[in-house]
């Protein structure tokens, strides 16, 4: 007699814990061939607001860590993903309806992307900041600082590589994130959250909501304690993207606009995914005896 397998309950990831949606709602997740895989938690407005509270609470500590420490933690995330590679290959293959070979390449690229971003933690300030030779006896230095709490509407198509490519650049510089995963392909994001929970990423730094960007997105876009929003998850939906950008203006969030179509995430990234969520602070001090 074959053994009955023990299935996992897929939950949200908020403040370092794995709650169900407070709304009690879930939705069916199907695989690439349309077969039932699991029920995922359907994040509500309240879940989104709880996630923002957690992200705000985590911001001071995370942004205050040394860049070296953040680099090591992101590298640690890559290590744990590599360790759990078969699980991710399986999750991506089922979610995206591709074979294990192509799914393996996606997972490898995701791990490599994390390693790439991890290295930026203690270099971005040197690349983006500079001393300014003002015309007077003043020390004057400009440095990048994290914007704060960033809402990330993760890509709908690329369930893991797209997710990693939008979350890593946000947190590596010291921001904290509230992520809405791909709606139809949320399970790799849940598995990713389980990696985060065991990689020394402090609770609240990344919060992952499974659900619909079209229903949760507007609450995040209009939330007065969210500082920025990445609209990548509504690529190809210009009316919704415009609505979210309008809502974001309520507190002048920094907006990373949605492209016309989801990009090819295997392309080499530029600095934009980091710089869109950075501020420049300039400090002056007199020079004298």
């Amino acid at each position: 007699m074959t053994r009955l397998d023990v299935r996992k309950t897929y939950k949200l990831y908020i403040d370092g814990a794995f709650p169900r949606s407070e709304s009690g709602h879930s939705y069916e997740v199907l695989d690439g061939k349309g077969r039932f895989v699991a029920n995922a938690a359907l994040a509500s407005r309240k879940d989104a607001r709880d996630a923002v509270v957690a992200a705000r609470k985590a911001f001071g500590g995370w942004s205050g860590r040394t860049a070296y420490n953040r680099a090591q933690i992101l590298y640690r995330v890559a290590e744990i993903m590599e360790d759990r590679r078969p699980q991710f290959v399986d999750a991506v293959a089922r979610a995206e309806g591709i074979g294990d070979g192509p799914a393996g390449k996606v997972v490898d690229a995701s791990i490599d992307r994390l390693v790439w971003y991890a290295g930026w933690a203690d270099k971005i300030t040197q690349v983006l900041g500079n001393a300014n030779p003002v015309a007077g006896p003043f020390f004057n230095l400009s440095t990048p600082e994290p914007t704060g709490v960033v809402a990330v509407l993760a890509p709908q198509g690329s369930s893991l590589l797209g997710l990693v490519s939008t979350v890593a650049p946000v947190i590596v510089t010291g921001n904290t994130a509230v992520v809405v995963s791909s709606y139809a392909r949320p399970l790799p994001a849940v598995t990713f959250s389980e990696v985060l929970a065991t990689s020394d990423v402090p609770g609240g730094v990344v919060n992952i909501l499974t659900g619909d960007a079209a229903t949760v997105g507007p609450w995040l876009a209009g939330h007065m304690d969210v500082n920025a929003i990445d609209l990548g998850g509504v690529a190809g939906r210009p009316a919704l993207a415009t609505e979210l950008e309008v809502a974001a203006a309520d507190n002048l969030k920094r907006v990373r606009r949605a492209p016309a179509a989801e990009p090819d995430w295997t392309d080499e990234p530029d600095l934009g995914a980091m710089t869109d969520f950075l501020e420049t602070k300039t400090v002056w001090h007199p020079i004298g005896l």
């Binding site: 003002v134 003043f138 004057n140 415009t242 309008v246 002048l252 420049t280 002056w284």
Partner: protein
Amino acid sequence: MSNVFEYAPAPESRSIVEIKPSYGLFIGGEFVDGGGASFKTVNPATEEVLAEVAEGSSEDVDRAVKAARRAYDKVWSKLSGAERAKYLYRIARIIQERSRELAVLESIDNGKPIKESRDVDVPLVAAYFFYYAGWADKLEYAGFGTTPLGVAGQVIPWNFPLLMLAWKIAPALACGNTVVLKPAETTPLTALLFAEICQQADLPPGVVNIVTGAGATGQALVEHEGIDKVAFTGSTAVGKAIARSVAGTRKRVTLELGGKAANIVFDDAPIDQAVEGIVNGIFFNQGHVCCAGSRLLVQESVAEDVLERLKRRMATLRVGDPLDKNTDVGAINSAAQLARIRELSSVGEAEGAEAWSAPCDLPSTGFWFAPTVFTGVTQAHRIAREEIFGPVLSVLTFRTPAEAVEKANNTPFGLSAGVWTDKGSRILKIADKLRAGVVWANTFNKFDPTSPFGGYKESGYGREGGRHGLEAYLR
């Protein structure tokens, strides 16, 4: 009050400035009549009407945008960076040559003291053009690409009319863009004089277009489909409206908006220097400064001493004729702004804060407000939360550094902040914790073309000035 500090009048001559009875728009390299109505610009110190100025209609804006597009396509985008640089150097030099004329006109139209327009505004204007001129042929080293965006629509405020023009036009042109600029309704004259400077420099027609007008003209410019970039300096309310109006477009935006800066004085600060910094922070330019140090946070143990010395210093401020070379505080820019300052001040008193104004004789005509300090202010008071944009200081106290940071950051704004202390490690710690784009430590209200300026949170986004300022005009 007769004492040794009594000064005889020392007015700067107006004769260097020739103000025409009426002005048109500067489109395609020449002055043209506007298709719409016109409005009057007045001297806020005397209420004298200075000139009639065209109020740009949406058709005028359209003409200007088309002229800018033509200039971009046919001339400016094809010039080498080195040639663009030389035009900007020429403009910088003409500004220096005509600096006294620009300063006097600025003080007449704006109300700011001549010693500020002469020693701060106009020298910085020349410096910004000189600085960005040099970038034009070095963009590949800046790290933001080398491709210009196209046509920039730029809307600027009345507090630093010419300086804000320089902040907008110099980097835009250096990067290869052309511009349509709308000066503020109450201060159009120096922008129109700048248009003459563009003519003297033989700047190709259409590279710079100046469309005067009020809010509707600015809105028509910002919403015009033919522009690629919006650069705005002004109120947070209008900034939000612009952010909404560009939603769903490909327009790039930079917004430099309001502020409510904390100026934090610790008990170990050199108090006399700090008092000078407090005065400069809030009374410079009549407090019409987005980064003004309008919330004084003073450590409780020295609060009494600081306030006593502050009041003594405020009593020596000379308020009056902007053209008098001894004047420290000039006229409020407009009747509307004066009404706003009066309203918020009366709210401050109604909410229980205590007002003290420097004793001074205000002229009987024009718009004036005596330098004023409010004590007993709490964080909930409107005068501690809203931008007054006038010579009004709100004083709060704190006990610990943590409390100072907490109070300083307790605002939706995040443009600037000040820290006064003798302890270096404390400066660096506090500067690190402040959520503001510019932090002045043991100084205040310093500006330089090499130094990026811009805010966090609802003070807007993007940076102007320095290498960072190029990013807004390149892709």
